[in-house]
């Protein structure tokens, strides 16, 4: 098989990460990640790169990164915590800049167990309250989604009784036009989790995405379980947001009222991107101004 040609994105986001992934996966566990032309990146692209790096590390390899030519982007990338999460399992074509402080636009955190959820949720909630004191309802929507999605990592991303680390991460970015939340893990994925329920045994990645996000399916047949991802999707739709979930070889995109399921390059775990318009959070301010 001929490896996919090198892809050097200017932006690393939901769309371009899907284009880059075939190249990265083809060279696993020593992929060459060409970020030389990079000028922007979002939480989804960033966290996908962290997961890829972790997988390489666990497989005895490492990420080989061509750092951005742009000093500002390079500093931002370092400040985002990417290399900290890779814990030395990387090579870069230039030395990493020293003395870079945390990137203020990004809040990144790792979830190892359910007890980690509360401090992350409170941190995000307090930051949203401080930044958007009039966006109570939108803050509530985003923080509620963070609670449900983060607790899914310890509950669903690993097979019961196993000790595999799904490496759950969350990142919130405050952009000029929107707020972007990414929550990812490299665990067993939706189809494997749902497949633990005999009703869903043998389900494909695409079917699992549709069953969970549209049908509200759960791996548990207990009353009151399930429906959280569907509720979040519906709330994002009602807020004119964008919702993207990829798991293994399937991807689900909800934009406006339309949703679609497609095939993507297989990658373990579940990776979620939620983008909400910034105006939702600033509505109170706008009303006061008006």
């Amino acid at each position: 098989m001929t490896p996919a040609p090198l892809y050097a994105p200017r932006r690393l986001d939901v769309t371009t990460a899907e284009r880059a992934l075939p190249t990265w996966e083809a060279w696993f566990p020593r992929p060459l990640v060409d970020l030389s032309r990079l000028t922007r990146f979002d939480p989804f692209g960033l966290l996908l790169l962290v997961l890829l790096g972790q997988r390489c590390r666990e497989a005895g390899g490492r990420l080989r990164v061509l750092l951005p030519e742009s000093a500002r982007t390079r500093d931002r990338l370092v400040g985002s915590g990417l290399f900290r999460y890779l814990e030395g399992a990387y090579w870069t074509d230039k030395p990493l800049p020293d003395g870079i402080t945390a990137e203020p636009g990004f809040t990144t955190a790792r979830v190892r167990e359910e007890g980690d959820v509360r401090p992350i949720v409170d941190g995000i909630g307090e930051r949203l309250e401080a930044r958007f004191p009039f966006g109570e309802k939108a803050n509530r929507l985003l923080v509620g989604a963070v609670i449900e999605l983060l607790q899914n990592i310890p509950h669903h991303a690993a097979l019961p009784g196993t000790e595999g680390d799904p490496f759950g991460l969350a990142c919130l970015e405050e952009d000029r036009d929107y707020l972007h939340l990414a929550i990812v893990d490299k665990g067993i994925g939706l189809a494997a989790s749902l497949g633990l329920n005999p009703r869903f045994r043998g389900i494909t990645a695409g079917q699992a995405l549709e069953a969970t996000l549209v049908g509200g399916a759960s791996r548990f047949d207990l009353p009151g379980r399930g429906g959280a991802l569907r509720r979040i999707r519906e709330a994002v739709v009602a807020s004119a947001g964008r919702f993207y979930v990829r798991s293994a070889g399937g991807a689900f995109l909800q934009e406006d009222v339309d949703w679609s399921v497609g095939e993507v390059v297989s990658f373990p775990g579940v990776q979620i991107s939620i983008r909400l318009p910034r105006t939702l959070f600033e509505r109170g301010t706008e009303a006061d101004d008006g």
Binding site: D122, G125, K137, H155
Partner: protein, 185 residues
């Protein structure tokens, strides 16, 4: 009827995970168990900024399901919230379990959350608005037969959405009064 309040904010301002909800459930159930007969426990969301579906399911919906299943007869659970949108995930979980709960929003509006057939919803709203009703009152107000009204009252009682009191009739036998669990302006 005596109402006791449990503040859910004691478990956090942004609640929470399913495990945190289970811890809250133990406290809620303990409070419900210690209520006197005809007692009401109000799960108050004052001070809570976010109520997740998972937390709500464990802390509130599971106790409601146990009451509806027949545990702790004569005890009731309601919700109080400063804003309606705080209750959205709680309502979704109630619907998932096909049960309902009365909620008082901002001390004024009272609404049934969860899944309630329209005929029970209109009956409950009438009882709440009037404080109390017999099957005769309900039959007259809603234009249904007395037997249908009595059935509605019995169903609302079984769902722990009204308290039913049996009173002797002057002409013999007993008459069932449905009493509202909440009083709102």
């Amino acid at each position: 009827m005596k109402t006791r309040t449990i503040l859910l904010a004691q478990f956090g301002t942004r609640v929470g995970t399913r495990s945190e909800g289970r811890a809250a459930q133990r406290k809620v159930w303990s409070e419900l168990s210690s209520l006197p007969a005809e007692g009401i426990l109000a799960a108050d969301l004052a001070g809570v900024e976010v109520l997740s579906g998972s937390f709500a399911d464990e802390a509130v919906v599971e106790p409601v399901a146990r009451l509806v299943a027949g545990e702790l007869p004569g005890r009731y659970l309601i919700a109080r919230a400063p804003q309606e949108d705080l209750l959205e995930d709680l309502a979704a979980k109630l619907s998932l379990r096909k049960i309902a709960l009365l909620a008082v929003v901002d001390g004024k509006a009272c609404l049934p959350l969860g899944r309630l057939p329209p005929y029970l919803d209109e009956s409950l709203r009438w009882i709440v608005a009037h404080g109390e009703a017999t099957s005769g009152d309900l039959a007259q107000a809603l234009g249904v037969s007395p037997r249908a009204a009595a059935t509605r009252i019995a169903q609302l009682g079984a769902l722990r959405l009204v308290h039913i009191v049996a009173r002797p009739r002057s002409v013999g036998g007993v008459e069932h009064h449905a009493r509202s669990l909440v009083s709102v302006d």
